[in-house]
Structures are given as C-alpha cells and as structure tokens.
Amino acid sequence: MKNKNAIFIPLKNSNLLCLSTFIFCAIFCSSSVFSQDKDVGSIHGNFQTDVQYYNVDTVIGAPIVPEKLLMNGFANIIYTKGNFNAGLRYESYMNALQGFDPGFKGNGIPFRYASYSLDGLDVTVGNFYEQFGTGLILRTYEERGLGYDNAFDGIRVKYSPLSGIYLKGIIGRQRLFFDYGPGIVRGIDGEIMLNELSEYFSEMKTRITVGASFVSKFQRDQDPIYNLPENVGSFGGRLNISRGKISLLSEYAYKINDPSAVNQYIYRHGEAMFLSASYSQKGLGIVIAAKRIDNMNFRSDRNATANNLNINFLPALTKQHVYNLAATLYPYATQFNGEMGIQGDLIYTIKKGTLLGGKYGTGLNINYSAVNNIHTVPLDDLNEKRIGYTSDFFTPGDEVFFRDFNVELTKKISKRIKMNLMYVNFVYNMEVVQGLGGKGTVYADVAIADISFKLSDKSSIRTELQSLTTKQDLGNWATGILEYTYSPSWFVAVMDQYNYGNTNPDQRIHYVTGSVGYTKKANRFMLTYGRQRAGIFCIGGVCRNVPASNGLTLTITSSF
C-alpha cells in the first residue's frame, strides 16, 4: 500500500529498511537467547500523553486553534536481557500542542536502538544520547516538556581498557523533528580517574579526574557567497580535583571558525570556560562558579536556529527558580554569542535549639548571580576577513544581561506547619535575553510565601502567595495557590495569577486555573482547566515560549 501521507513514518525508505532489520535482529538475538536459558529478559517502558482542548479567548490573546484539540504522546518500550538492551520510542503529535515547534507533526518512531556491553566494551547502534564532560562541546539529550531532542542516530562505542580509563567514540547525525540535520558529527572523549588506576593512587585523599575530547562536524558548503569550512573541529579539556570537603571543577573548550546564522557568519573562533569551587560539610554548603562564553554556538547545521541541532550544551549559570512568577516571567537563557557570568550559592542549616533554628532547625539558601556581555573591539572587516571582533579573555563588558539576588528560608514551625519564604531581586535585560527590541531592562522584586498545614497523617493544605513588583514590562503581578493533597493519591489545586499592575486597565486580567490529580503507583492523571498566562517555560536553562491559552488539559503519565 502506498502511503502518500508520508508523515506516517517520515524516516526515509533506507531507514525503514534499517529499522525492520534492526527489529528482526532484536527478535533473532532474543529468540536464540530464549532457547538457551529460562531468563527471557524483560520488557518495560513508559507512556505520556498531553491532550488540550482550546477555548477561544481573545482577551488574553490566545491564538486561534482550528483543530480545537491538540495532542502530544510518547511511549518508550525497552527490552533488556542481561547485557543486551533494545528499545524504541513512538511519538505522536496530532497536532503538536501550542508552544511546541510545528515541526513536530504526525507520528513516527524517531528513536530506536540496540546496545550491549561485554568485558568493558559497550556498543550502541541506532539512537543515543551522549555527553562529554559538562557538555561544553557535546551533549545530546531529551527534554520532552520543551520539545527538545537532539539525539544522535549512528554508532557509539565505549571502552574501558584499564580500571580508571574511560574512552568513548561517537559518530552520527542529529534528530531534527522527524528527520535529520544535514551535518555529520564525530567525537572522541577520554577520561582518566587517577585514583582508580592503582592501589597506590586509590589511597590518596585527593581525587583527580582529567578528561579531553575532540568533536568535529561535517557539512557541505553550498553557499553562493561565502567560502565556508566544511569540517569544523573543536576540542575541550577538563580537570576535576576534590579533597575532603573541597571540590574544584574546570573545563575549557575551543572551536575553530564556524560561520553560522547565529553569529551572522563571522569567521572568529569560539571559546568557552567554566570554573567552579565548592566547600561542604554537614549543615553547610558553598559554591562559587564563573563562566565565559565567546561565539560558542555549535550546531550540526550552520543555518539552524531556535533549539534545533545543538551539538553542545551551555547552561545558564544562574539559579533555576521553581516558583511560578520567579520562574516563568524573567528566566535567563545563555547568550551563545558572548557572556561572562559568576554565581555564588550558600546553603546552611541553622541548628536546632538555637534562636533562629527553633525546635527543628532552619534552612537558609542565599544565591547571587550576575551576567554581562563580553568586552569586544569591532574589527570592521565584514567585507574582507569577517573575523568580526577581538576580545580580551578576562574582561567583561559593560552591558548588564542579568542579575539575580535571592534568599530562601525553609522553616518547620511545628509538627503540622512548614513554611518556605523567599525574596528575589531581578535585573533582566529583556532586549537581549528575549531579543525584543525596545523592551529595555526590567527591574523586579519577588516575594513568596509557601506554607503547608498538615491536617492529618494523610491530608494537608498548602498555600502559595507570590508578588512580583516592577515598573517595567507588564507591571505588577500577584499569584495565589491553594492546594489540598490526600496522600498518596489525590490533589486538588486552584491558582490565580493576577496582572493587577498592567498599565492598560483592560489587561488587568485574572488567570485562574483549577487542577485535579490522581496518582496510583506509577500512573498519574491530571486535569487542568482555565486560563494560562503566556510565559517562558524552561528546563535546565533551555526555554520555550508558551502562548496564552484557555481550555482543558489532560495529562497521563505511566511507567511499567
């Protein structure tokens, strides 16, 4: 049967063949295994679906959804037998929910793999995720809630020839929705854990790990104007040292010239550096970290933008907020073309029985982060060499991208009452971070009280009161949440976000939602109805814009 709607499995014919071969191999392998012994292995997996019905709501500017109902769905099925694994992920977007890239369309199996490990050798064929060091030059991963998936399709070999030495090699193309990016990515990584090398070193109190990697991508140059590098290499090195309560992490990466849509096709090299030191003992933790990024956008398609085909991972060096107003209005996102940042974090538990510690002890968390641009000197060579600019490695620029000072207190008041109090002060360069010209910089104060009352062993009530005050952007916001939980299965919640400070009186809107959730073991059902505010939804420093919407959402997650 010829299927003209090729959205069905938009993997191409050759891939189709591969996939069938792969599945038959899997069967063949497993059936020959079955005949040998009684352990036939196990099949397990998980499932998630989000279905949303959209109401028309012009007041909040919700986009019209002609389908009225949209759905994202995923299922992973993994077969494991001893050292052998094979799995696939079926994905379905009919059509993708609002806020997801419309590239996700239709159904398919964009992820399937087989792997085995034996005597220190580990082989994966098909799709896989991989990370070298902290990911400065290579990291592929999946974040379903964001529609982020830059998985490789290819081959990975990991080998540990000696205790303490770990080698990896990968080659593959990256996932782009239901297709692949045009470039091929090759990478090797080696890591030595000194303390595992011999007994002499294992006795040492100082623990040392060194690692190095090399990654290169190939993409044909078909550009009519520029002479572009077809092979772009990058390398990175890292050194981690820890001794007792102190730990130091450092990583550096360099990339040769890689003109791309993101850097306006300049031929400058790229650099990234990450340093972090921490001290911790019972009841006290301190982390300080610094980062510099210069022209380090690295994708397997030089013309790609948005969250597509990233080879490396450059997370923001700022606190990942969890409370609604602090997390979704002004979240910072790494500026690939250049930024310098620092962060400090202090976690302290004030002892029980002291004045501030009270009967149960008090948790304190103070965090500060600051990010600026890098200092650059323009070269004015855009019609010749196109290097673009020079930049001194240690000099930050004058432009403030982001500031975040926050304090959080966690306090158990009595057996029944627990409280979290938080204050946040943001400086947020909206023009740069969100790319919205004319929006300027937002200065905002956020105050949060999160209080829970235990009614019985099983039931409790939690309330969140949040306020965000600012003279810029949309003005002041207040959020109230009331939640009732009955352990271990039920929760009911109501939330109102009120933009009471909007300069336009017609936009002083209440965004009210109600939710009910039911969890039984590894199955979870959740229904949400109401108005959802437009915002930026981030996980791990990668963000997507979610438009305002009004409607009913059903989410089911399950594992087996």
Partner: protein
C-alpha cells in the same frame, strides 16, 4: 500501515515468551552513574545485604522532590534502626546544577547515598517520566513498587511498605 504492522508483530513476538513467563520481578537495569566525588558507579552494584532499598529520583530545582527527601531525612535514623533500609537519591541535575548537589546534600544533612545521573541515562533506563519518582527494592534487589509524585504524608505510606519488606512480607497492591 504495513510498517506499523511489522512493528506490532515483532513486538508481540518478542513480548510473547516474556509474558508467557510467570511475572518475574524486574531488577535494576545496568547503567552508569557518578558519585559526588567523581567516581564511576555501576547500578548493578546497588546492594544492602538483603535489606530493602528505596531509590528516589530528584533534582535541586524540584520542590516536591526535596520535600520528600527532607521528610525522609528527618526519619532516616529511625527507619534504618528499625528496618535496615538504605535510601539512594539519584540527582538528574544537568551541568547547570551538578556542582550544587553535594553542597545541598551536606547542607541539608542528608545521610543517603547520592549519585549523579547528569545526562539522565539511568532515568531513561528506569522509565521515569518526571521527578519525583521513587522505587522500592526488596532484599533480592527486585523492584516491587514504584510511585510518581510526592504529597505530604507519602513518607508514612512508604515506611509501612518498607517495614513489610524488612519483615519478608510481600507487597500486594
């Protein structure tokens, strides 16, 4: 459509002998984690001398996860004395926050075994959709119970199950 049928047929074929087998409890799949001081750790090596193990997936940015583990931390001494249970906390924090995990764990006085699953390989192998997600293992290292999400008071239920396992009883639900 032909393609889908192939897949389903194949799956059935693979599943068939597995399902025909008496339902045998699943063990922890092989995966690699890092300890807080950078050592590589293989998940096959989780052990607690025949006593139960509680595994919880969490992240420094996940409030309910931290609530769950802090609630358990308050009771952990008693739990261990009574049942010998071991609690293992798997952080799925990525490079943005991995260096905050150790200081957080120490800062909050957690006595658990803590591992880093930086690129979430173990999370995927365990079929975790989102955090918090927790698993209970009996003395033979078999997964006998799992739960997604956390509400205040869940720790009481969890402890009841741990006591049953420690007494060698089966969990039937």
């Amino acid at each position: 459509m032909k393609f889908l049928s192939i897949i389903f047929a194949s799956l059935l074929f693979v599943l068939n002998p597995v399902l025909a087998q008496e339902s045998k409890a699943r063990k922890i799949p092989a995966s690699e984690l890092k300890t807080l001081d950078g050592k590589t750790f293989h998940t096959e090596n989780f052990s607690n001398n025949g006593k139960p193990i509680f595994i919880s997936f969490w992240a420094t940015w996940c409030s309910p996860c931290k609530k769950e583990l802090n609630a358990i931390a308050e009771r952990y001494e008693e739990w261990q004395e009574q049942t010998g249970v071991k609690v293992i906390a798997i952080s799925i924090d990525d490079a943005r926050n991995t260096n905050k995990v150790g200081p957080y764990v120490n800062g909050r006085n957690w006595e658990f075994e803590v591992y880093l699953d930086t690129n979430q390989d173990f999370k995927r192998a365990m079929n975790v959709n989102n955090v918090p997600h927790s698993f209970l293992l009996n003395g033979n290292g078999e997964i006998v119970w799992q739960h997604n999400s956390y509400s205040d008071g869940d720790e009481i239920k969890i402890y009841e199950l741990i006591k049953k396992l420690a007494a060698g009883e089966k969990i039937e639900e």
